[in-house]
């Protein structure tokens, strides 16, 4: 994998990293829990066909500034600022996990902006019969097996990148964790349910069959409540971070959906 091109845009005055790789129509990717500590095979596959643009949400690796975002409205405005800064003026939007919750908000609040929406195990809904797992009330060390079916892949994904400051890297990782908690604490219910009917674009929902964080049954609720034509695809062998667990299968599914 060759490295993506890197630039930076300011959101609320704080720089946020933007990675870009590939040619063709732009496809913007908002990452999930842990953010993007490094470029991934999934994004690389997409970049064979599309110009993949991956902006870092505030607080996730490559960006800070989450601590000024107090409300969901602050988060949505920051996400719109970030997309604008990344040069996204309309097109296909892909979001996973935390990034999925915000991608759905963007599609609901600025319906003209998103041509096709792809959501990979997005947060945002809360069903008392199958509540999202308490991500921040877990025994130490359990996260890799909770988030993925490939704990070693996850550990390699979140290991300090070459040249990273060994003391600073844990801070960057805990900042990503904090940013997600800042948006989702305590129940991971962003009340997205109230706005799903405003998503009018064609939507593709992808979910790991073995997601231990959010039940794949949430996919049905997205399909029922989104106004646009919505297709669901479950990925066998994948956990919550499905695009990390099954990069090939996820990339094929995404590319087929946005052809």
């Amino acid at each position: 994998m060759s490295a993506p091109a890197e630039r930076s845009v300011a959101v609320n005055g704080v720089p946020c990293r933007i990675w870009e790789k590939g040619n063709g129509q732009p496809l913007v990717y908002l990452a999930g829990l842990a953010g993007l500590p490094r470029w991934t095979p999934f994004l690389d596959r997409l970049a064979e066909h599309r110009c993949v643009i991956a902006p870092s949400l505030p607080g996730f690796p490559g960006a800070a500034g989450h601590d000024t975002l107090d409300t969901l409205l602050d988060w949505i405005a920051a996400t719109l600022d970030l997309l604008e800064g990344a040069g996204f003026t309309g097109g296909d939007l892909l979001g996973a996990s935390v990034g999925g919750a915000l991608a759905a908000e963007v599609a609901a609040m600025a319906p003209g902006l998103v041509r096709r929406l792809v959501l990979i195990a997005p947060f945002g809904l809360y069903d008392a019969a199958m509540p999202p797992v308490d991500l921040w009330g877990q025994k130490p060390g359990i996260l890799p097996t909770l988030l993925t079916t490939q704990p070693d892949t996850y550990k390699a994904f979140t290991a300090p990148p070459e040249g990273a400051d060994a003391n600073e890297w844990p801070i960057i990782q805990s900042r990503a964790n904090e940013a997600a908690a800042r948006l989702l604490w305590p129940l991971a219910d962003t009340r997205l349910a109230r706005r799903l009917h405003r998503i009018r674009c064609a939507t593709f929902v992808l979910w790991g069959v073995d997601d231990k964080v959010l039940s794949p049954r949430y996919a049905e609720r997205f399909a029922q409540e989104i106004a646009g034509k919505t297709t669901v695809r479950l990925i066998p062998g994948a956990g919550h971070l499905a695009d990390l667990d099954a990069p090939g299968a996820c990339a094929e599914a995404v590319l087929a959906a946005i052809q």
Binding site: D70, I171, E178, A181, R182, P186
Partner: protein, 419 residues
């Protein structure tokens, strides 16, 4: 030297196999383990003990706030403090304290503490902890990433509510109030002394120095474990150009005193083992929510052993043995002279003018708590009394109304009957 008597109000009937059978004493402790009839008895006994401590001459009685906690039955310490305001006359009332970020609006704290200050004739010490992760983020659902921001804003709001002479609007980041105008306001002017219980965070030390507040280190692990933290505090005070007035600091210590050391070892073993075994059985899942520790504190933890120790002490994954409890000084045990000598050393070594003593701990019965308290008051207290006072002034102690002008409870029915 101020000697303050502190109660945690532990539930004393946790089962013997609590550690083995149950996950945690905090946050998800089974509701079925609390029996309200036992609760009724315990509250009354614990309040007896607090009143007794006041009666035998402690300078203050202290209460604190915990939620969903089997060793702290005071979700609202203000309720206990207000009862104590009526049942004590000269003793300071130290609420150690109210977790400011948990109240909406935080003016509720300004009001309740003003009430207690008025009822007690100006005997209130207002403690403002951020609160533990277990209390604030898990039991009370506060967002750990916003907790400190909310805490500081709530502090500013309470302080303004206490001191501004006219009604005002408060347009905070988290609190918007068109009319802030608390009735009553506190008797002590400009406001009751503010004390900050905290862990070993440099930012808290700096803030206490800037605001001229008392910093309190409330560890359950005694003076040996607390030494590094207090040394760090005093180094920071020196760096900031502050004097070494020991009354800038408070420190918590468990104490068990008896006629002889042998007797003390016999008497206090069971309640101490109950506390360090069952009461500190906290699931580490609830210890470190993301954002609770600032990035500066996290950096310090990565590079410094000092705060690593403090971090570890928040949660006890193994129960401590009695030998360890005694040897490591979690509980200071001994005859009155031995305890006095050790506490003199603690006070001098840690340079602490406000000693908060836990003399009821674990499942200790009321009679033993009273014995521990009385023996301390009679034979230990006189040996510590004058410490520091020739050199330093306690600028952080309540200033009540003169005794002659203070109201006292009147039993009207009895008076009528007598007439």
């Amino acid at each position: 030297m101020k000697l303050m008597w502190f109660h945690l109000m532990p539930y004393t009937k946790l089962p013997d196999n609590f550690r083995q059978r149950h996950n945690s004493v905090w946050v998800d402790i089974p509701r079925s383990l609390f029996d309200p009839e036992i609760g009724h008895r315990l509250y009354n006994e614990f309040m007896d003990e607090l009143e007794y401590a006041a009666a035998v001459g402690f300078d203050a009685v202290c209460v604190n706030e915990h939620h969903a906690n089997g060793y702290g039955l005071m979700p609202s310490p203000n309720l206990i403090a207000s009862a104590l305001a009526r049942r004590t006359s000269d003793t300071a009332l130290c609420i150690m304290g109210n977790s400011l970020a948990l109240y909406n609006p935080p003016t509720r704290i300004a009001e309740e503490m003003a009430m207690i200050d008025c009822i007690s004739g100006g005997r209130l010490i207002a403690g403002f902890p951020v609160g533990t992760p277990m209390d604030t983020c898990y039991a009370y659902g506060q967002n750990p990433s916003q907790l400190r921001q909310r805490y500081h804003e709530a502090h500013d709001l309470v302080l303004e509510a206490w001191t501004r002479p006219e009604p005002f609007a408060f347009n905070g980041r988290f609190n918007q109030l068109r009319y802030v105008n608390i009735w009553p306001h506190p008797l002590q002017k400009p406001h009751p002394p503010i004390w900050i219980p905290g862990g070993g965070s440099v930012e808290t030390w700096q803030w206490c120095a800037a605001m001229d507040y008392v910093y309190c280190y409330l560890s359950y692990f005694g003076y040996k474990a607390g030494r590094e933290t207090m040394m760090g505090f005093w180094r920071e005070m020196e760096r900031l150009g502050k004097d070494r007035n020991p009354y800038r600091a408070g420190f918590l210590q468990f104490v068990g005193v008896a006629e002889t050391r042998e007797e003390a070892l016999k008497l206090y073993k069971e309640p101490a083992e109950y506390f360090y075994g069952r009461c500190l059985h906290v699931d580490p899942r609830y210890a470190m929510p993301p954002g609770y520790a600032s990035e500066a504190t996290q950096r310090l933890r990565i590079t410094s052993q000092v705060t690593l120790a403090a971090q570890r002490s928040a949660v006890m994954t193994q129960g401590a043995s009695w030998d360890e409890i005694v040897e490591k000084g979690f509980v200071i045990i001994g005859s009155p002279d031995e305890v006095a000598e050790q506490l003199r050393e603690v006070a001098a070594d840690l340079n602490v003018g406000h000693l908060m003593l836990l003399q009821q701990f674990g499942n200790m019965e009321r009679d033993l708590a009273a014995y521990n308290t009385r023996l301390f008051a009679e034979q230990v207290m006189p040996q510590l009394r004058g410490l520091f006072d020739d050199e330093w002034e306690d600028r952080w102690w309540p200033k009540p109304l003169p005794k002659a002008t203070r109201a006292a409870p009147q039993a009207l029915a009895q008076r009528e009957a007598a007439e």
